[in-house]
Structures are given as C-alpha cells and as structure tokens.
C-alpha cells in the first residue's frame, strides 16, 4: 500500500514537472515558428491595398494586417495550448501508470484514478492560488509595511488620521463609496421590482423588459458616453464655431429641460456633491435590468394558491404585492442586494471616465488609481498606500462575503440531498 502511494506521488510529480516545462516551451516555439504568418498577412494586405486602391496609407495597412495575423495565430495557439494540457496529462498519466504497475490492472487503474482529479482541478488551483489568493495576502502584508519592508501601520494612519495628507481624499472616497453602496442597490432593487411587477400586468411586458435589459450588455464607459449626451453642459461658444449665432446651444437634454442657460457650461455630473448622484444614476440605468430579470423570475415562482387565497380574501393589488408576494421572494431580494453591493464596491469605470481627477467624486477604487498615478504626497510609500486602500475596499465587502458564503453553503447542502 505504501509503495502504491509512492508511485502515485512520483507519477504526479513527473506529470507536473513535464507540464511545467513543456507547455511554456511549446508556447515559445509555436509563437516563434508561426511568426512569418504575420508578414505573409501583411503582404497580403499590401497586395489588397494595391489591387483595390484603398485610401489608407501603406504603413497603416501593413500594421493593421500584421496585427490581424497576430490575432489569428495567438488565438489559435492560446486555445490549443489549453486543450493540449488535458490531452498530454491524460496520456502521461495512463502511460506512466501502465509502465509502473504493468503487473496488475487493478493497481494501474487505482493510480490513474488517484491522479486524474488533480489533473482536472490542477490548472484551476494553480491559477487561483497564483492570481487571487497569494496576491491578496501579499497585498495585505504590503499594506502593513513601509516601502523598505519594515512593519508599520503608517499607511492606515496616513488615511485615517485627520492631520495627515491622505485624510481629505480618503474621507471623501469613503463618504462617496458609502453613498453609492446604499443608494445604487436600493434604487436598482426598487426600480427592478416595479418594472417586474408592471411588466407582468401589461401585454407588451416582454418588449419593455428587453429595453430595460439591454444596458447590461454595454460597458460602463459606453454608458458614460451615452449619458454624457443627457447630462452635458452647453456646447462650444456658438459664435466661434458657426458664424452668427444659434438660438440655443444647450447640448445636454436634462439641462435644456431644466431651463439652464448656456452661462453655466459644466456638465451636471461636475456639480459639487450633487454630481455624484448623476454618476450613480448611470450605474442604476445599467444594473436595473439585472434586478428586474431575477425578480421577474422569482415573482413567477410565487405559489399560485397563495395568490388565489389572497384574491378570494379581497386583497387589492398593493396588498397583494406587499403582503403576499414580497415576503415570499424576500431571500431573492437579499441575494440581489449582495450581488449589487459587491458590484458597486468594484465600480471604477464610470467615475474614472467622467471625473477622473475630481476629489469630490472619488471612490475607493478610483482613489487607488489616483494614488498609483499622481500622488506625490505618498512619497516612496505609494505602492503600500495603494495596498492599504485595497484592503479598506476589501473590508467593506466582508459582511457580504460572510452572507454569500453562508448562502452557498446552505445551497450546496440542499443540492446534496
């Protein structure tokens, strides 16, 4: 029995070492060997340009086609390496087991069976340990160090001490993060519930839901560009651009509706303090579809007999919703809430795209980027401060993590039964 464990361990190690050496080599060789493909495609591009008389200049055409060539071969190589891994490991596992235990088929299959699960979960574990677990722990330890590696709580003091330089930005970032944390999920949930209920009661509900749903496919930066048209301030001074003047040069719809004159030229999201709410609205616009879809499904799952009973008792639509349906989908509301809270904490793109350098609009995530790029006040400790802010961001998620872990645990139990 002892020898069997030894064989399993040594086979596993052999497979691991082979893979760890072979896959990077294959990748390097494959990339070097296929490099002429780029040039070939570049030449094809030039030939096509000459043949069809394209307006793009020669250099751009060449660059573009070489890039497409790189795209094609890198997609093929990257994907085939990930398939290659499973092919090679399985073959190695079978082969090694056959040579080491050729006397007994039972031992052979035992060895294969013992190693196989680790082949299947191996890449996952390696990637998660290297890219999430170890980095998270090392960020934690970085945050408790000075730049020279000595232990210190100075980075947190730098953020929390009212007399220190980082306090002003950090206070604003915390204030804004908390506002986002409370307002965005609650607005999404209320709107999502409202739309789910209304859409179920009208004929064109499916169409309505699709429209509310589509923003989920759009990037946050794209959403920022979209809403810029609504929240923007006045255009360029009309007199300069076109000759004479135009009667109205308000290009933002909301400001035009509010009757703002062109004199105040700033977009609405640049307003001091109140601008935050316009940025939040963009995220609400994107995420309400998510809440709506889930509530819509949950409401459909409410048992028909409870609704029927309430109807017989003479409940009006409001009572029906608040007294009968809502209590029954309460756990779904909580799940949506935690999902949205985690999303909001990570949100970075919208304030970064629209108000990157404004202290008044900082969130923890944008403050990290700010700290990395243009903090001279942090001195040599910039990386450590960055880590400290990241840890603060992490701490705000902890209650949600606990809830989520508990939920998944319970769910797995139910699935197991």
């Amino acid at each position: 029995m002892r020898s069997l464990k030894l064989i399993i361990a040594s086979n596993g190690l052999a497979i691991f070492l082979t893979i760890a050496f072979l896959l990077p080599m294959v990748a390097i060789v494959a990339y070097t060997a296929t490099a002429p493909f780029d040039d070939a495609l570049g030449r094809l591009g030039l030939a096509m340009r000459a043949h069809w008389d394209w307006s793009a200049n020669e250099f751009d055409t060449l660059e573009r086609f070489v890039k497409i060539g790189f795209a094609i071969r890198s997609v093929i190589i990257a994907v085939s390496i990930s398939f290659l891994y499973f092919g090679i490991t399985n073959w190695l596992n079978m082969g090694l087991a056959r040579t080491r235990a050729r006397d007994s088929i039972g031992r052979q299959s035992k060895i294969v069976e013992a190693i196989q699960p680790w082949i299947f979960v191996g890449p996952t574990l390696v990637l998660l340990v290297l890219f999430l677990l170890v980095p998270a722990l090392s960020t934690l330890s970085l945050s408790f160090q000075e730049y020279d590696g000595t232990f210190s709580t100075g980075n947190y003091a730098f953020l929390w001490d009212p007399d220190s330089l980082g306090y002003l930005q950090f206070r604003l970032a915390m204030r804004n993060s908390l506002m986002w944390l409370i307002l965005v999920p609650s607005t999404c949930i209320m709107l999502g519930l409202l739309i789910a209920v209304l859409a179920d009661s009208v004929k064109w509900g499916v169409v309505a839901k699709t429209f509310v749903f589509v923003p989920l496919a759009i990037s946050f930066v794209g959403a920022a560009v979209i809403w810029r048209n609504i929240f923007a301030g006045g255009g360029i001074e009309a007199v300069e651009v076109i000759n004479g003047s135009t009667p109205s040069y308000q290009i933002g719809l909301l400001k035009a509706l509010l009757g703002h004159t062109a004199a105040y030229n700033e977009p609405l999201y640049n307003l001091k303090f109140w601008g935050n709410f316009f940025l939040m609205w963009i995220l609400v616009w994107v995420q309400t579809g998510f809440a709506m879809v889930i509530f819509s499904a949950a409401l459909r799952g409410v048992p028909e007999d409870t609704i029927e009973a309430a109807r017989i008792d003479g409940a009006n639509p409001f009572q029906m919703f608040f007294r009968v349906k809502l209590p029954q989908i309460y756990s779904t509301v909580l799940v949506v809430w935690t999902t949205l809270v985690i999303l909001v904490l990570k949100v970075f793109d919208i304030p970064y795209a629209l108000s990157a350098n404004d202290d008044d609009k900082l969130l923890l995530a944008t403050m990290m980027e700010n700290a990395r790029n243009n903090w001279s006040i942090g001195g040599d400790n910039v990386d450590n401060l960055f880590a400290a802010i990241a840890v603060m961001l992490m701490l705000t998620v902890v209650p949600n993590m606990i809830f989520n872990g508990w939920r998944i645990h319970r769910e797995q139990k139910e699935l197991g039964n």
Partner: protein
C-alpha cells in the same frame, strides 16, 4: 381597469427614460460635427434654426453684371459631399457701415437681421432673397464686385449621414486597432477559462479526492474578492517574468543588435491569464451546480461499461452541459469585452494595442469637441456585445438565475 391604465402609463414612462439615451447616442453619431456640438440631439428631428455663412459668388470672377441671380443653398452645398443643407432661409445678418446720424462725417457699424423680401445694401448693390434661398443682387450699372460673405439664419431640415462612422473606421486608426485588440483579448479569455473550469467542475461534481468539498468552498468564496486586491502583486509577478524573458531573449537571439530584447510585462498574454483566473470561480460555481444535477444513472452505467473519466467527460458531460457552458461564455465574453480596470492595470499600454473601453475613455477627452465621432465610436464598441447578448439572451438569463434564484 384603472390599475391597468396606471401600469401602462408608468411602464411606458420608465421605458421612455431607458430608450432616450440610446436615441441620443445614435442620433448624435449620425449628425454633422457642427450640429452635434452646437445643438442638442433632440433638435435633430425637427427643423432647427442654425446660422450658416455663404459667399455670394466664387472668388476671382471678373465678369461684370448689373443683376446676379443665385441660390443660397447651392452656394452652401457646393464643394460639400455630405449633410446637404436644405430648409427655409429666415433672415440674413448684415454687418455694414452706414453714415452715423449723430456724428456727421463718421460711420458706425450696424448689425441687422434682414428678412426675406427686404432689399438691403451690399457693396453698393441691392440684395433681395427669398425663403427658398434664391437671391438677386442688382447694381445701378455693370460692375464686378468682390464676393461677399453673408451669415444666413436657416430653418434647417433634419439631415443625417454616416460620415462619422466612415471617419472613425477608416480615417482614424485608433478605433480599428481597438476593435482588433478587443477581439485578441476576448476570444482566448473566454475559451480558456471555460475549458479549465469545465474539467474542474466535473472533478468537483463526480470525482472522489481528498479535500474536495472544502476546496470547492474555497474556490467559490474567491468569487467575492475584489480584484483590485490582487493587481499590484500580479503586476510585480509579470514584470519579474518579463525581465527573465528579456534576459532569455538576449541570450538566445541576436536582439542586442537591433535593441529589441525588451519583453513587455503588460501584454495580451498577461491579460488572458489574469482574466482566466478572475473568471474561474464563477465559472466553476455555475458549471458544477449544473453538472451535479445531471442524471446519476447515466454516469454510473458508463463507469460500469468501463469508460474512463476523460471519456465520460468529453462524450457525455460536455454535450449535456451546453446550456451552462453557453451561459457562462456569455458572461465571460461580456465581462472581458467591457472590462476597463483589468486592462488598464495589466493589459498592454502602447497606443495601438489598447482595448476598446480604454480607447473610449481616452476619446471622452480627445473627442470632447467632436461629439459625432465620440458617439459613433461608442456605437461601434457596443455592436458586438449587444448582438451577442440579444442573440443568446436565453442562456444569459438562465445563468443569472442559476447564480441567484434556487431552481432557476
């Protein structure tokens, strides 16, 4: 009945709010530069009063005449290939010097709006225009005046054109580059995690190995770790690898001669690996919950028939799990395509390799005064994910529900 009407009205209002931004986006991208930056998108659908400058005739003409006929719209549209101006001429702004009635011997500048049909003095002649743009310029005797630039206020008809799209796609090289880069990043970053996660999910669902259950809980609980926490160490790791690779490159090849030894630490490959790692917890969670629900008898009988795990996985589990695979691939595709922050920290940062969200974020600054280009670029960035999303909506919703509503 009242509640039915109420529902319709409220829902219509909400849907209206959701649609208006899209209308703004598309209509702005289809307008001319001047219109896009000087008037709101809602004015694009109705005749709008805008100022336009035209010259009475071409420079350098020496023909003498007593009476000249012309058309303001013809003058405006000559030499213009797109966005033809049409509509009604409301008035012309005249800047002229006349004898000052208060100060004899001096002149003063007047600015006056002349309406259609009212003759006014231009370079000693009398000019009359009609609302349809025809104008007549009469002189007392034959002369050859220099051309005069006049500012006309025109109630312009709506006009749309695809010029902005042509410009960003063919004249500007940033948008095509961003499109290609986004594809380079997204396709492997979607396929690789699915492959890896499917194997792991199968192992977590149907294979026996020590520590299986707590490993699964660990993997899934990593789902909520904010990725920001990991950026700095990952970045340091990649720059370590890059310096090794640079040394290796210098040792193997003769790159010192051309000074091309440097291997970039922030590359497409580092983005693929990072996106793969970040996407794995959700993928394994979704796929494992699906695979565990497959009929036990099927898998057991295959085992008894002597099929290996790899055969069961490729022949039975994968074909049966297509819906779950599809729903995760949409999540990952949308997430990677739309991602800004990972690409910003870990992706390549040379101008031609930027992915679309970063390019768009930069264009918010560079196209501040060319809103038609900004909006066209945004539309192009959205076409791919919206098509994927709408065509595979069913699987997306299924994935959403599997993640949050029991039994979905």
């Amino acid at each position: 009945m009242i509640t039915r009407t109420f529902s319709n009205v409220v829902l219509a209002f909400i849907v209206f709010i959701w649609i208006v931004p899209f209308v703004a986006l598309v209509s702005t991208s289809l307008r001319s530069e001047t219109e896009a930056k000087t008037s709101g998108f809602w004015t694009a659908f109705t005749p709008t009063l805008l100022g336009q400058r035209f010259s009475t005739h071409d420079r350098g003409s020496t023909d003498e005449f007593v009476e000249m006929h012309g058309n303001i719209f013809e003058r405006l549209n000559s030499g213009k290939s797109s966005f033809p101006i049409s509509g009604e001429v409301e008035s012309i702004l005249v800047n002229a010097r006349i004898a000052d009635p208060d100060k004899p011997g001096k002149t003063k500048l007047i600015r006056e709006l002349m309406l259609a049909g009212e003759p006014f003095d231009v370079r000693g002649g009398s000019l009359v225009f009609q609302t349809n743009g025809d104008f007549t310029w009469t002189f007392p005797e034959a002369t050859a005046p220099r051309p005069k630039n006049l500012d006309a206020f025109i109630n312009q008809d709506p006009v749309f054109g695809a010029d902005a799209y042509i410009e960003v796609l063919f004249d500007n090289k940033n948008v095509p580059n961003a499109l290609i880069s986004s594809f380079i990043v997204t396709i492997p970053a979607t396929i690789i995690p699915i492959t890896i996660a499917a194997f792991a999910a199968y192992a977590f669902a149907w294979m026996q190995f020590p520590g299986r259950d707590w490993l699964f809980v660990l993997v899934v609980s990593l789902m909520v770790v904010p990725t920001q926490l990991a950026f700095l160490p990952i970045l340091q790791g990649f720059s370590g690898i890059a310096s090794w690779a640079t040394a290796l490159n210098a040792w193997i090849t003769d790159c010192e001669i051309t000074d091309t030894c440097q291997v970039a630490s922030k590359s497409f490959a580092s983005l693929w690996i990072t996106h793969t790692a970040f996407g794995l917890p959700l993928a394994i969670y979704l796929l494992r919950n699906y695979i565990v629900g497959l009929p036990k008898e099927l898998l057991q009988s295959a085992r008894i028939d002597g099929a290996s795990h790899l055969q069961i996985f490729t022949r039975i589990v994968i074909p049966l799990s297509v819906p779950a695979l599809a729903s995760f691939s949409i999540f990952q595709f949308l997430w990677v395509w739309n991602d800004l922050i990972v690409a910003l920290y870990i992706g390549p940062n040379n101008a031609s390799d930027l992915v679309f969200p970063i390019r768009l974020q930069k264009q918010l600054g560079t196209f501040k005064d060319q809103l038609h280009l900004l909006n066209a670029s945004a539309v192009i960035s959205m076409i791919v994910p919206v098509i994927v999303f709408l065509s595979m909506q069913r699987y997306f919703i299924r994935g959403l529900l599997a993640g949050s509503v029991k039994g979905g």
